[in-house]
């Protein structure tokens, strides 16, 4: 300790003054040090951004990652329905907490991915206020299995249950739908529309874990039927609730850094793909 204090107080063994070259050397060393420190800080920041936990869902125990800071939410039994996992962002700036929900139900006989997606759209259109489908696209998840990604918006009243007088919120959401082991799995990313772009980094952790990838060649628009926008309940068309046998919720694993590229799908709200194509062939359609 004394030695270091001596070195701090008398760094030079002589009284020789420094030269301008030494001044410049000091400038260079300080500059490099600051740049190196900022470089390290970028690494720390990225480590925080990519820190994640994961959940395993479905018959194949597919791993879905979510931001480490988010909190898994317990869903009441009577409200659980098909919900397998739900995590929310407790730090959401909006009254509507950004959330990720994973739902699953068994496929019905001869039901395809497109039919399941269509049924879900009808269900959402009839249950969500001011529902509006924005875009739909074919992609792949995990090991190249087909997936359908649907973007939509609706109005939610998050403070209604508590009796508060908060304003309703326009929610933007995205469903990533695929089939796993005979089960129709839907991963829903939802956030206040005003915060949708800000949450893309967090959503990227989820989509990276799903290995969500656009189709390599221009994808034909899926042959999907037009869905209602803001329509009222359609009697007789709501999909009945699944029966017993829905798999239990997944397990949660310790945090691991996410891998893969950030999500670069088209569901940013800035591009619009018509939900219904008058003349189109869908690959793998039913």
């Amino acid at each position: 300790m004394t030695m270091w204090i001596e070195r701090l107080a008398k760094p030079s063994p002589t009284n020789e003054p420094p030269t301008r070259a030494e001044w410049r050397r000091n400038d260079l060393m300080v500059g490099l040090l600051v740049l190196f420190a900022l470089f390290l800080a970028v690494g720390v920041r990225n480590q925080v951004y990519n820190a994640s936990k994961s959940a395993k869902v479905g018959p194949s125990e597919l791993r879905i990652a979510y931001p480490e800071a988010w909190r898994a939410q317990t869903v009441k039994a009577e409200e659980a329905g098909n919900v397998l996992v739900q995590v929310i962002n407790p730090g959401s700036p909006s009254l509507y907490d950004t959330r990720i929900t994973v739902e699953g139900r068994p496929l019905r006989t001869d039901e395809s991915l497109e039919k399941a997606r269509f049924d879900r759209s009808i269900k959402l259109a009839t249950s969500l206020p001011s529902f509006r489908e924005l875009a739909a696209e074919q992609m792949t998840v995990y090991d190249g299995r087909p997936a359908l990604v649907s973007s939509y918006a609706y109005v939610d009243d998050p403070t209604r249950a508590t009796g508060s007088n908060g304003l309703p919120v326009v929610v933007e959401a995205q469903d990533i739908m695929f089939i796993d082991g005979g089960q129709f799995v839907v991963v829903t990313l939802a956030a206040d529309a005003a915060a949708w772009n800000d949450e893309q980094r967090n959503f990227g952790i989820v989509t990276n874990s799903l290995k969500l990838t656009p189709l390599p060649e221009p994808a034909a628009t899926p042959n999907v039927a037009p869905t209602a926008s803001g329509a009222g309940p359609a009697s007789g068309t709501v999909e009945p609730a699944p029966g017993a046998g829905v798999p239990a919720s997944g397990t949660v694993e310790p945090a691991t850094p996410a891998a893969g590229k950030p999500f670069s799908g088209s569901q940013q709200g800035s591009t619009r793909v018509p939900a219904a194509t008058p003349a189109g062939q869908s690959e793998g359609g039913d």
Binding site: I5, L8, A9, K10, P11, S12, T14, N15, E16, P17, P18, T19, R20, A21, E22, W23, R25, N26, D27, M29, V30, G31, L33, V34, A37, L38, L40, A41, V42, V44, R45, V48, Y49, A51, A69
Partner: protein, 345 residues
């Protein structure tokens, strides 16, 4: 401050008596620190006890204006008090104000854009305690101290008025206060005004932190200004100052229970304690350095009579010293930037 011609037989280039007196310790540093703390407590006390409701009668624009004014008060108070540290050879006020202004500009033009734009620290810095500590050292501390060095280096480092080690501390504190003032400005601006009780404490602690650890770096700047130092010396100083700066704000964050209770006073006491410890450490280093300067002021690089180096000293310095050249003192310090003229009259 200019070196005068040395008397015959005295090849040191400086008057040993002047060097001895100039290398004298600065006991006012201790008293200045104490008075600074008392003064800032008074500043906080006024708006917490005497005028607690001053802000209640102001609209948002009035609160912003008042808050902006208050962000300057602690900085100016610190600046005046630290300026008095250098009571024997006070620096020109214009230079000190100039360094302060350069600190302001660097903070507004570089510091804040990097913190909020490039790094967006609010989105990740407070995830957990270790991220906060490392982030505050690496980003806030390193960048802040780097800018303090830049402000001093670019303005007064070559100036003849920078003629003693203590000047490094003074100027670096001024630069640090400039950065702290901008931080306080942004705090007021982003919060649409300020609760004067809580805000006064926060402004005081911010200004105190940046000034104190700017002063720590200023010690190292003063050393490299007048002595040959190892290549690691100044970077080590930046690291020390940055670590202290980051740890200071980390400790304040974790010591505070919340913004709306009496923890604000605890913040102020903690900040004052840390500042006094840091300033005492710097004061001890300055004292030892001055003692060493006084001892070796009569010595050359080889241990003999000190010979001031000519202007183009980088290529000829070893030869000049080895030959015991008859070059005498009297070189203007402003013309010979490498001359060790500390304490010279």
């Amino acid at each position: 401050m200019q070196a005068t011609a040395s008397p015959a037989g005295d090849t040191s280039g400086v008057s040993s008596g002047d060097t001895q007196s100039s290398a004298r310790n600065r006991p006012s540093l201790w008293w200045s620190s104490l008075w600074a703390f008392v003064g800032l407590l008074a500043f906080v006390g006024i708006f917490n006890f005497l005028l607690p409701d001053l802000g209640a009668n102001l609209d948002e624009a009035g609160l912003i204006a008042l808050g902006l004014l208050f962000s300057l008060v602690p900085a100016v108070l610190w600046l005046v008090i630290f300026y008095r540290i250098d009571s024997r050879e006070p620096e020109p006020k214009r230079l000190v104000a100039g360094v302060y202004a350069v600190g302001l500009l660097l903070a507004a033009g570089i510091y804040l854009p990097i913190l909020n734009g490039v790094f967006a620290v609010d989105t990740w810095l407070y995830q957990n305690w270790w991220v906060q500590l490392v982030g505050e050292v690496l980003v806030i501390g390193m960048l802040g101290m780097g800018l303090v060095y830049l402000a001093v280096r670019a303005t007064v480092f070559d100036n003849p008025e920078f003629d003693e080690r203590l000047d490094g501390i003074i100027y670096a504190m001024a630069a640090g206060l400039g950065i702290g003032t901008v931080i306080n400005f942004m705090y007021v601006w982003q919060h649409g005004g300020v609760d004067l009780g809580i805000g006064s404490i926060r402004m005081v602690t911010n200004a105190l932190g940046y000034a104190t650890f700017g002063g720590v770096l200023g010690y190292f700047i003063g050393q490299v200004r007048f002595e040959k130092t190892p290549v690691y010396y100044l970077p080590a100083g930046v690291i020390v100052a940055a670590f202290l700066n980051g740890f200071y704000f980390f400790a304040l964050d974790h010591a505070a229970r919340g913004p709306f209770d009496t923890a604000g006073w605890r913040d102020l006491l903690l900040a004052g304690f840390l500042a006094i410890v840091a300033l005492a450490f710097v004061g001890a280093l300055v004292r030892r350095s001055n003692e060493e300067t006084a001892r070796v002021s009569q010595l050359s690089a080889s241990g003999d009579a000190w010979v001031p180096l000519p202007v183009d000293a980088s290529a000829t310095a070893p030869a000049a010293v080895a030959s015991g050249a008859g070059a005498t003192g009297g070189e203007d310090a402003s013309a010979n930037p490498t001359a060790n003229t500390e304490g010279a009259q």
